[in-house]
């Protein structure tokens, strides 16, 4: 992008304006485009899609009134929340209380800097891309703790502390699983990790070795916990803590917290897709760069969205686990497993630096066989339960 801007300055477009200012304004403009054009909309539409997906799972229809098929529901909710009165409890720590949503949003939006949407569509291809993302999404903890403490409400405090314990604990299996991929590629940069994979499933790191396969599931679980999603949604456990750390929030501040929660689904999914599922890789069907990049962007988006829908599905199905069970799952099960994977992958890379093709292909076949078996069992249960599709979800 810098080269493009230098070209424009040389052509004389920004006469009299110091180049540094041009760069700064351009960066802010780009960030605004990304945020308002993409991030917020994705987060908003995800709330709507989540409600429709849940409704289908729960034998009901979901919001379908606002706009065709209810597509504008998220806009309506957003506008409603913006128009609500923003209460700050009298005994709350006002500064921290007002600051908390912004810290949380910062932690979330900053992850999009290193998000590889296609081979050129990346705001900054940092050479510590994945480490940067892991670090920056942890800012969310700080925001949640601030929210829990500043609300001056014991239930919010419990929610905040639970969240802090949860996110900090699950960073460890998450990081270890991420580093198995780093071991394989030797680089932390997001684009390089994607370029080390191919477009076909037998070139994805998911099937690289049994260790990476297990790593994927550990990372998935740990990232679910990082994002405060069921089964790890204790910080905002509705039935216990009213709304956990966001109990005292209303209006726009509440909107920010929930935007972050649903937007985080996308970030989590994007991380998984980048590391394990081949990122934006597509077969080279056209030489036109614009079209190719568009195809790559669409691929990346669709793959990430599968992950998002999977997480919505899990949320609709599973109950919540308790705090002590959460901790024991992390420390007694996930961390040892992640260490074993790490060491195993290190040994694997040492023996076969370019990957073991036969095992890779065998794992792919196994993976797809598992997928087909899964769908077969779904169909079996559907037939056995005699459940009719009682109505069309688009009615």
């Amino acid at each position: 992008m810098q080269a493009f801007l230098d070209q424009l300055i040389a052509d004389g477009y920004f006469a009299g304006v110091p180049p540094q200012l041009v760069y700064a304004i351009a960066i802010v403009a780009a960030a605004a485009v990304v945020i308002f054009g993409f991030v917020l909309n994705v987060a908003g539409v995800t709330t709507f899609i989540e409600r429709r997906v849940w409704a289908r799972i729960q034998s009901r229809i979901g919001p379908n009134r606002v706009g065709p098929q209810g597509i504008l529901q998220w806009l309506a909710d957003g506008i409603k929340l913006l128009m609500k009165e923003e209460l700050v409890p009298a005994a709350a720590d006002a500064t921290l209380f007002k600051l908390a949503p912004y810290v949380v949003v910062m932690g979330f939006v900053a992850a999009f800097v290193a998000m590889p949407f296609s081979s050129v569509l990346i705001a900054a291809d940092l050479n510590l891309g994945i480490l940067y993302i892991t670090a920056v999404t942890s800012l969310v903890v700080v925001g949640i703790l601030m929210a829990g403490w500043a609300s001056n409400n014991k239930w919010s405090l419990i929610g905040g502390i639970r969240s802090a314990a949860q996110i900090v604990s699950y960073e460890i299996p998450a990081a270890l699983s991420i580093f198995t991929i780093v071991l394989i590629t030797g680089t932390l940069s997001m684009q390089s990790i994607i370029k080390a994979q191919g477009w076909a499933p037998w070139d994805w790191f998911l099937f690289y070795s049994p260790f990476t396969f297990v790593s994927f599931w550990i990372l998935f679980t740990a990232l679910l916990a990082e994002g405060n999603r069921t089964p790890f949604d204790l910080p905002e456990a509705e039935s216990e803590l009213v709304a956990g750390f966001v109990t005292e929030y209303s209006g726009a501040r509440y909107l920010f917290f929930f935007l972050v929660e649903w937007g985080n689904l996308y970030v989590i999914s994007a991380i998984l897709v980048t590391l394990f599922l081949g990122g934006w890789q597509v077969p080279h069907v056209t030489d036109n760069p614009v079209l190719l990049n568009l195809l790559q962007f669409v691929t990346f988006f669709v793959k990430s969205y599968f992950g998002v829908i999977l997480m919505m599905w899990i949320r609709a199905t599973l109950p919540r686990i308790r705090v002590d069970q959460l901790m024991s799952t992390c420390w007694k099960y996930l961390v040892p497993m992640a260490f074993v994977n790490f060491v195993g992958t290190a040994v694997w890379v040492a023996i076969w630096p370019n990957g073991n093709r036969p095992v890779w292909i065998a794992m792919t076949v196994l993976g797809f066989a598992l997928l087909f078996y899964f769908f077969y069992r779904v169909e079996f249960h559907r037939r056995r339960s005699g459940a009719e599709l009682l109505f069309s979800p688009f009615s």
Binding site: W54, Q58, P231, A237, P319, R320, D324, S385
Partner: protein, 386 residues
């Protein structure tokens, strides 16, 4: 302990020698998961509770005193509000105690109508109880499935008596109306679709590892404790005491019906824990379906109500009867002084004792478990406060 010139007194509390403070939380009358308006003052040490003291009375409507003002017949709609989730049983209880005092025999068909209505209500009540229990634990989907079935039952009962929650279906001497023309076919069709749904439920949530871990071993109540605290119904049977008023002190037409009484069997966890209380309710729904089918086969024809004078004046005296409601046996005690207004009416409900035992059983549990315990004991606030 002293640091150079700086006297510090550290209270040696806990193993690390850190000073800790007990937190007093208020799980207030308005809360998404307490079943009705119940309040708990929870003294917690972090996540572990030392004590959860219940504070009831937010839904006290002095129903017992109202009985003294509205008369024997007039009190029937008020009994619905004693436990609005399982209102048919309350109707039946008041009907039975009045009939006992007045020596009134209900015709056979009337008794069958009562049992049909009651067992349908038992299924509906258990669906609500089980659905809200899994919702409190975090699984949002089975709740909708349970309510989907419950809506169908509400539709059926609406055809029967016109109301979906507070039925006022029974009268002193029988029931108000006979079954509508194709009621039996509709209920049979519903049961044919409902029983496979229970199997679906089982697959979805009952054997889910997360759910079992949350419920198994939580708040174990031993049979001796359960009996001493007068815990009744599914709570008592989950602790292993095989007692059901319908089987052991039968009333109405239950002697002619064949059904099993599920008792806790500790399939996952311990006898008397929250999972056992949950599992029993699922099995009881199956038994209720079985009872309903038998009733439809065995029902005789005839009147559904015995004529009882408008100004019903039972002879002076008192009587106590028990009805096996969805929440356990409900004891109705009525005193008559020979006039058409009861002298005293007292309801002793299953949730009353369950609230009393929470204080004892919640010591040492975690905050998240308190919600599980309340839900598994199937407490509804109107029963506790009346």
């Amino acid at each position: 302990m002293s640091l150079a010139g700086f006297e510090v007194e550290v209270e040696q509390v806990g193993q690390q020698g850190l000073e800790t403070e007990e937190m007093t939380l208020n799980m207030g009358p308005q809360h998404p998961s307490t079943h009705g308006v119940l309040r708990f003052v929870v003294k917690a040490d972090g996540e572990v509770m030392r004590q959860a003291i219940p504070d009831v009375g937010y839904l006290h409507r002095s129903i017992e005193k109202i009985a003294e003002k509205v008369g024997w017949h007039g009190f029937m709609p008020y009994t619905d509000r004693v436990d609005y989730v399982a209102a048919m049983f309350c109707n039946q209880g008041w009907g039975m105690v009045s009939e006992r005092l007045g020596d009134i025999a209900v015709p056979k068909r009337g008794e069958y109508c009562r049992v049909i209505a009651a067992e349908l209500n038992r299924i509906a009540s258990h669906l609500l109880s089980v659905g809200t229990m899994v919702l409190d634990i975090g699984a949002i989907t089975p709740f909708f499935h349970a309510f989907r079935e419950r809506e169908k039952i509400n539709d059926l009962i609406e055809q029967l008596c016109g109301a979906r929650l507070t039925y006022n279906y029974m009268r002193i001497g029988g029931v108000a109306w006979d079954l509508p023309p194709d009621f039996i076919e509709k209920v049979t069709a519903f049961l044919d679709r409902f029983e496979p749904m229970l199997a679906e439920y089982h697959d979805l949530i009952s054997v889910n590892k997360l759910y079992v871990e949350r419920c198994a071993g939580v708040a174990v109540i031993s049979p001796e404790e359960a009996v001493n605290y007068n815990l009744v119904g599914p709570n008592l049977r989950a602790s292993g005491v095989r007692y059901d008023v319908r089987r052991d002190e039968p009333y109405s037409v239950y002697p002619e019906l064949e059904f099993d009484v599920p008792v806790g069997a500790a399939e996952h966890g311990v006898l008397g824990d929250s999972y056992a209380r949950y599992a029993i309710r699922i099995r009881e729904m199956k038994e209720s379906a079985r009872i309903l089918r038998q009733c439809f086969r065995q029902m005789p024809d005839g009147p559904v109500i015995t004529k009882v004078p408008r100004k019903f004046k039972p002879p002076a005296g008192d009587a106590y009867i028990r009805v096996e409601s969805a929440r356990g046996d409900m004891g109705w005690y009525a005193v008559s002084d020979g006039t058409e207004y009861p002298y005293r009416c007292k309801v002793r409900t299953g949730s009353f004792a369950a609230m009393a035992i929470i204080d004892k059983v919640s010591q040492g549990l975690m905050l998240a478990d308190l919600v599980t315990v309340i839900a598994s004991l199937d407490i509804v606030a109107p029963e506790v406060d009346r």
